[in-house]
């Protein structure tokens, strides 16, 4: 059905399949994006009236130390989650494909955290960090568990990392399992006949052949942890004293708490450019390293 010869037929087929998605994409992504760009040059506070104010939102956005602090927190968070999330995801994938008992049950179990929304997850873990862990710490006598993790800047940051890794590693595991499953068994047999041990096979055969899985997993963890908002809001809400306020939450607060919509809009555009640059670079970098069997 894709072999239409005449132009009207081609257009008809295109419209039939692509018009609705394109309309949706334009309406909910492109149009708001352009509207946002337009807004960033105005002093919009309410929808009632606003004026053009040139680049002053841009100056204020770049001058905002709260924004750049939150950016720093986000970069540290991204680094921690990308590394730990993928390491754990990959190890879990190896574990549940190694042929241990109940491995399908484990797969389902490790994947489950992903099915819980970020807000719910945040509140569940908030309960754990605020009540269960301090209670446990006091009973057993472990000093760093005796007070709430969420009340201390360093531990609150790691609390976010822990929950985020816990949530994302199951999803990454599924992708890594798919990557492992796609490897031709004959290659592994040939390697073991040649005397390659488990780790040699892993490093020289499995991992190079799984590069597409790494590309996807790194992209997903990078993007998701740059754009984390719900977990940040529900678990710490940026506290204590804004030490865990990540960039999307900072932008939201700039807009809706400080009511500087234009400035927040500029900051959102900066975030967009950063995420686009980082993820495109990463995907390009890994694409070049993909190998064929």
């Amino acid at each position: 059905m894709y072999n239409q010869k005449k132009l009207p037929d081609k257009i008809l087929i295109f419209v039939l399949f692509a018009a609705v998605p394109i309309f949706a994409f334009v309406a909910i992504v492109i149009a708001p994006f352009l509207l946002g760009l337009y807004m960033s040059f105005t002093d919009i506070g309410t929808v009632i009236n606003f004026e053009f104010i040139g680049f002053s939102n841009w100056e204020r956005a770049f001058a905002s130390s709260r924004f750049w602090n939150s950016f720093g927190v986000t970069v540290r968070f991204v680094a921690a989650v990308v590394i730990l999330g993928n390491v754990f995801g990959f190890l879990l994938a190896l574990l549940v494909t190694s042929g241990i008992k109940f491995q399908n049950l484990f797969r389902a179990g490790f994947f489950t955290p992903n099915l819980i929304g970020g807000i719910i997850l945040g509140y569940i873990w908030q309960f754990l960090f605020l009540r269960m862990l301090p209670y446990f710490g006091n009973v057993v006598g472990i000093p760093f568990l005796q007070s709430s993790w969420l009340a201390d800047p360093v531990r609150a940051f790691w609390a976010l990392v822990v929950v985020s890794v816990w949530q994302s590693s199951g999803y990454m595991m599924i992708i890594y399992i798919a990557g492992l499953a796609s490897i031709n068994k004959s290659l592994l047999e040939a390697a073991s006949l040649d005397g390659a041990g488990y780790f040699r096979q892993l490093l020289s055969i499995k991992m190079p052949l799984m590069i597409p899985a790494f590309t996807i997993c790194l992209f997903l963890t990078l993007r998701n942890s740059f754009m984390i908002y719900d977990l940040n809001l529900a678990l710490t809400n940026g506290g204590p004293f804004m030490s865990t306020e990540m960039v999307t939450l900072a932008i939201f607060n700039e807009a809706f708490a400080n009511r500087n919509f234009g400035v927040a809009q500029v900051q959102a555009l900066i975030l967009f450019v950063v995420i686009a640059t980082v993820t495109l670079t990463q995907v390009g970098f890994f694409k070049k390293r993909e190998v064929e069997e």
């Binding site: 994006f33 929808v47 204020r60 001058a63 908002y229 506290g239 204590p240 939201f252 009511r259 959102a268």
Partner: protein, 445 residues
């Protein structure tokens, strides 16, 4: 984030677009203007207390059937309490305004040019002292009608105090030293004195700050002038006597804190449970905690204790709690017809002057009347105490209503750091001064 923001504005844009198409949902028969009262008038209202919406609807149906002016008031639904101002913005963007709006005080200035002066209304003369401060303009215009009163100070559990100290009269606490002695006596009797919750930035980093700003002088305008020096960066907080007293009080609250080993741990619910059960005797909070505490302890009896500042028993600051108006009723004049505006004013008057209106407001809508001589009083002890303080004149206006947007996260953060011992008095003071100056000058922090 970008998507969310943009989606909201896109949504608003689309709604404005579509709403303009069929703009005239409430045909007003009296809009021709020839006929006086008697012709049916329909007005719309938004109400920001979702928890009592059913009762509000009941009150409206009584009003609609009983009023002699042929007025029908109908509710524009909002998603929740937060939704009111969004709804109002949306209706204005669609040129289809709500006539009667129940707005958070902080949002009233945003609609300043669209709402009506109410200074000619009969209830103005009957308003309690200070409750119109926030909406009164220099030229005498009054932009809103107080919808209710809220107040905060130390809330104490009467049963816990009596169990520890017998028939102790809390009104004898008139100085800071007496408060300290009270805390010591409680602890000596095996009763935790106070729970202090710096984790609630809106409490200690915002509400509590009203105490040193509203007590600079007994004149409201002088307090505002002091706030202005803070906003302009010319105030020297550290040398200010009231501010020093405020710091001393903060120290006292942290010293006797029942959770002093981990001051940042207790959250709002912990405070509610601790105070309701009598686990602690005192908590710095407001009358809004009453319903939450009743859920834990239906027989609980709670009262207010002023936060004392100085050691002078006659100091007005030591007997006052901060009481002001959290929400105002405002009336649109931008697009509502004169008949609709008159109907709205009639309805607002009916709410504060008729028996039915007063009874509903006090007993079902949990709105503490801001007017003298209301025949019905609220049922909960904290609301009753509020009215007592108001009538005695022992109330402080909320200077915090004039704070720059978004400040409480920052000032709250400094109080949190101070409570953990991460910064000292100087650090806290510099942080607060900087927050005011920079937020007011929109130099983002």
């Amino acid at each position: 984030m970008k998507k969310l923001l943009s989606a909201i504005f896109m949504g608003l844009g689309l709604l404005a677009f579509t709403a303009c198409g069929n703009n005239d949902p409430t045909p007003v028969n009296g809009a021709q203007g020839q006929t006086p009262t008697g012709d049916p008038v329909e007005v719309t209202v938004v109400f920001g207390k979702p928890e009592v919406m059913t009762e509000f609807e009941q009150m409206l149906s009584i009003f609609n059937s009983e009023n002699t002016q042929n007025i029908t008031v109908s509710i524009i639904p909002t998603e929740d309490g937060q939704g009111v101002v969004e709804r109002v913005r949306l209706q204005y963007a669609a040129a289809d305004p709500v006539t009667i709006m129940h707005l958070d005080a902080g949002f009233v200035p945003e609609f300043e040019n669209y709402i009506r002066d109410l200074s000619d209304q009969p209830w103005v003369a009957n308003a309690m002292t200070g409750v119109l401060n926030f909406v009164t303009r220099a030229d005498g215009r009054v932009m809103g009608m107080p919808a209710s009163l809220e107040g905060f100070g130390f809330v104490y559990n009467r049963a816990a105090v009596q169990a520890a100290l017998g028939n102790f009269d809390t009104s004898t606490i008139r100085t800071r030293d007496q408060l300290q002695a009270f805390f010591q006596d409680l602890e000596a009797a095996g009763q935790n004195a106070i729970i202090t919750t710096p984790s609630l930035d809106w409490s200690l980093g915002f509400h509590f700050m009203n105490k040193f700003l509203a007590t600079q002088s007994q004149d409201f305008h002088e307090n505002l002038a002091f706030l202005d020096t803070l906003l302009r960066g010319t105030a020297n907080l550290y040398s200010n006597a009231r501010y020093q007293e405020w710091l001393n009080m903060l120290d006292l609250m942290l010293e006797y804190n029942s959770n002093a080993h981990a001051p940042m741990d207790p959250q709002f619910d912990d405070g509610v449970m601790a105070l309701a059960d009598g686990d602690v005797a005192v908590w710095f909070q407001g009358d809004w905690i009453n319903s939450a505490m009743q859920a834990f302890n239906p027989d609980g009896d709670f009262g207010f204790l002023p936060v004392p500042m100085s050691n002078d028993p006659n100091d007005f600051a030591n007997r006052s709690i901060s009481i002001d108006v959290p929400q105002y009723w405002v009336v649109d004049q931008h697009l509502s017809t004169p008949e609709q505006q008159d109907a709205a004013l009639y309805f607002l008057n009916w709410m504060v002057s008729s028996q039915t209106g007063q009874r509903f407001a006090a007993q079902y809508l949990e709105l503490v009347s801001a007017f003298y001589g209301s025949e019905y009083s609220s049922v909960d002890p904290l609301s009753i105490a509020l009215v007592d303080y108001m009538e005695r004149g022992d109330s402080l206006s909320w200077i915090i209503s004039y704070f720059p947007n978004g400040i409480l996260t920052i000032t709250g953060g400094y109080v949190q750091q101070y409570s953990l011992g991460l910064i000292d008095r100087v650090g806290l003071t510099q942080g607060i001064e900087r927050a005011f100056y920079e937020l007011d000058h929109q130099l983002d922090l």
